[in-house]
Amino acid sequence: MAPVFAVQKGKNAEKAVLFQDAYSTAEHKIQLTYSQLISVSQNRSHIQSRENERLAKMRFILKLIRLLHKQHKQSRKTDEHSQSNEESTQALSQNLKKNLDTVKTRFGDSSDLIIREFSFGRDKEREIKAALIFLDGMINLSMINDNIIKPLMHGSQLFLAEETADISSMDEIRDTLLAVGEVKTVYTYNEMIEACLSGNAVLIAEGFCKALDIGAKGWEKRAVTEPTSETAIRGPREGFTENLRTNTSLIRRKIKNPALKIRATVIGKRTHTQVNILYMGGIADPDLVSEVERRLKKIDTDAVLATGYLEEYIEDSPSTAFPTIWCSEKPDAIAGKLLEGRVAIVVDGSPFVMSVPMLFVENFQTAEDYITRSHYATMVRILRLIAFIISLFTPALYIALTTYHQELIPTTLLFTMAASSEGVPFPAAVEMGIMMLVFEILREAGIRMPRAVGQTISIVGALVMGEAAVQAGIVGAPVVIIIAITAVSSFAIPFASDAISLLRWFLLIMATTMGSFGITIGAFIILVHLTSLRSFGAHYLAPLAPFQKADLKDTVVRAPLWAMRTRPQEISPQDLKRQNFKIPYHPSAGGGSNRSEEP
């Protein structure tokens, strides 16, 4: 450990020198420019020079302010750095009490900090005072009792029964006494505190300037249950939990292959959240992996509490309404993505695992598609696409038809529409806007409310929307129907429904101002936007634009699994070939030779 710090320290020193250099050169430059300016201004005519001088002075002052500001920022950064380095390098002392005091002050007497002081050894004179530090609720208490304290207090007696034996170092305790799988020697306060925070117990003893980081993690965690956001009919039912290790193990159990690589980082200056990057070695593009790592490394935030926190930092285009990072609660779905060459990001504390890059078609795919028969899966995908179009365009189309293009409505339908618009006090667009607003509010209320109240909301909402509003003549019945169709369709799309509910408003405004012409323009804008989107370098609309014929097999149609010979091109996997094309068992193809050979 020590040489690493030394190197870090050395780097800091280098930085400091460099910084000083930069400072002096900058100062020199400013002086130079100022003198130049003055000399230039002196050459000009009197009035002009005065004006110039004033301008130059102002510019100079501005420049100076900016430079100073920059320096200030830099110096603060280096200050922080050096401070934290100093602390992290602060080694443990041999004095137990001093060590304990430092830990206590660092934690500020948190009530969950437990320090168990005890002593062990052959007799009173040669006993060793020690302390076990851990955070209540983060550790496995029975492990602490049975595997740490018990061996130390009782086991040491047995060990020391032989006259020659003696406990002279921390390493000896580690090697001979502790009955724990994961033990590490640490030297500094920071390491010690980090160990406590991640749920380990730390053993320190009088007279040793080392501590033992003993892996005894054990906190309350949710069991692996069926995910609520994605339900499966035939697929596996297990879902991710909030625990990072559980999640990675769930994926590992799907892919029993050492090629599944897991890389760990810690993000969040204050939360120190564990983040793991998963990918398949030999399939995933190494450039993609390093790009994911680079983007994660660049994040400078103080808190990462869920996947959504990271998502916004690593997106290609943060301003888009469409999701460019896919996420799922299902280990089988994520395993599938990994095997296609994608990279998964697991964040501790979130039951959602992200996968990148994401393509537009993934909005319409579910893990279930690959389990049901391909014909049915294809039909369902087409349905979802239709639902997408319906939920995006219907309100706008209705407004365009009823306020601009009445001639396009079949005559008898026009009567019905006209009849229901009789006596409605608002223009059709306003009516539609009101109903869309009411629907969004109802949906939001339904999600946030406790389940018992939620039902009341839906009943009141359905009654108010469906019946009373129409009967009272506030809105027309067709508008309610349109809203209902839109709402139902938007729930049929697995992923992009929030983008749709935003764009629906955009299209509504376009339709209100310009009719079907406006819808055309709006659709065009959306399409252009989609084509320009990227997700970790991959074209969002691939394989449709750019057109990749080989990958159409898993776009709108879901080809039979045996026909999916290659992995998606846009993800640029190292190994494009997934399998050899082989028609499943057919008597004449000789695929069933094994069976026929059976006696």
Binding site: H69, E407, S421, T512
Partner: protein
Amino acid sequence: MTKQAAKTGRKTFLSLSASLFHKCRRRARRAAAFLLCALLVLCLCSCWSQRELNSLAIVLGTALDVGNQPDTLKLTAQVVKAADIGSGPAPQGGGAENKAYVNISHTDKSVLSVVRGVTHMQNRRLYFSHNEVLIFSSDLAKLDMAEGLDAFTRDYEARMNIYILISKGKASEILEEDVELEKLPALHISGMMENQKANSETAVVTLRDFTIATLSGSTAPVAPMVELYESERKKYAQLNGTAVFKQGKMIGELDKTQTRGLLWVTNKAKSGVMTVDTQWGQVILEILHSNSSLKPVKTEDGTIRMELTVNEDGAVESNETNENMSSLENVEMLKERMKETIRLEIEDTLEQARTLSADIFGFGEAIRRKYPKEWEKMKENWDMIFSEIELDIQVNVELHSTGILVKPVIPGGAK
């Protein structure tokens, strides 16, 4: 120390935000300008041509009559009362209160001035996109149809596939007929027109057909005629015959059989019923399929004659005699009778057309297409040539079935 830290922190924050503002200002300004421009563009068109459904008077039928002042016309527009049509049963009895429509009439010098004139009386604008029928009174048709035709063809709102009808009495009264199954007379009439394929006794003419015929010069446009008949103190509209036009004016009529004669020639008689007389009584035959082709042929001496071939497939629809019509000789006999009937119908119509000296069949058009050079010479005195032109009629009839009965239904059964 903490105080100082806080102080420096605040300072840093301030300077940081200042620099951020400085950096973003240009981009933000540019973005704001762009957004403003986009918004202004939207405002420029500002719901242009937008109209709410409840500000429209949806016109379903239009009737044109001669106005009571000289050189005026009276336009009657049938406007649907949407609120009344949406729900509830069809209006019972003649109660004017229950009607699902209102007929708005106005008299002025031109169609357009009438349409605009209606705004003096109504709070809604007449909306013609869903207009389905256009009825001219025969009085107006005999005077001049050009004005009405031009206005309805030129306007982008009115459609070209609306049906044209000529009323025997006042056109506005047709739109006031008592309707039973439909709620609106206009829909009743347009539905009736669509139903005419079943009998081939009415020339179904849309505004488009009529305009094309009018523009051709040689062809005489035709339009179906509609009249009112009274039954149990209620008035109903019915189709009867065809009006013949020449030079934009109505010059005569064809009756039902003559109309079918016309339809045989123009390849529009596709279905219907024909009654054939035999020595034992009447047999009713159904027209299953039919097609005809008309072509001009140049004879050796340089004159042009017309050749008409009619192929018709029929079936026995009903047998009023006691004879077995499925026997071979009887089938042959029926076929001959059928041929004769069709030929007679066509010749009767040709006779009437020659009396009116109106080329309702489009002989002139057919000649122009095939022999344009000869047509140039014939064009000038086409009326004279038409009255003398030779028409060869070739009728081929097939009798396909006698229905699901072989022998006639008579007491005791056939022998």
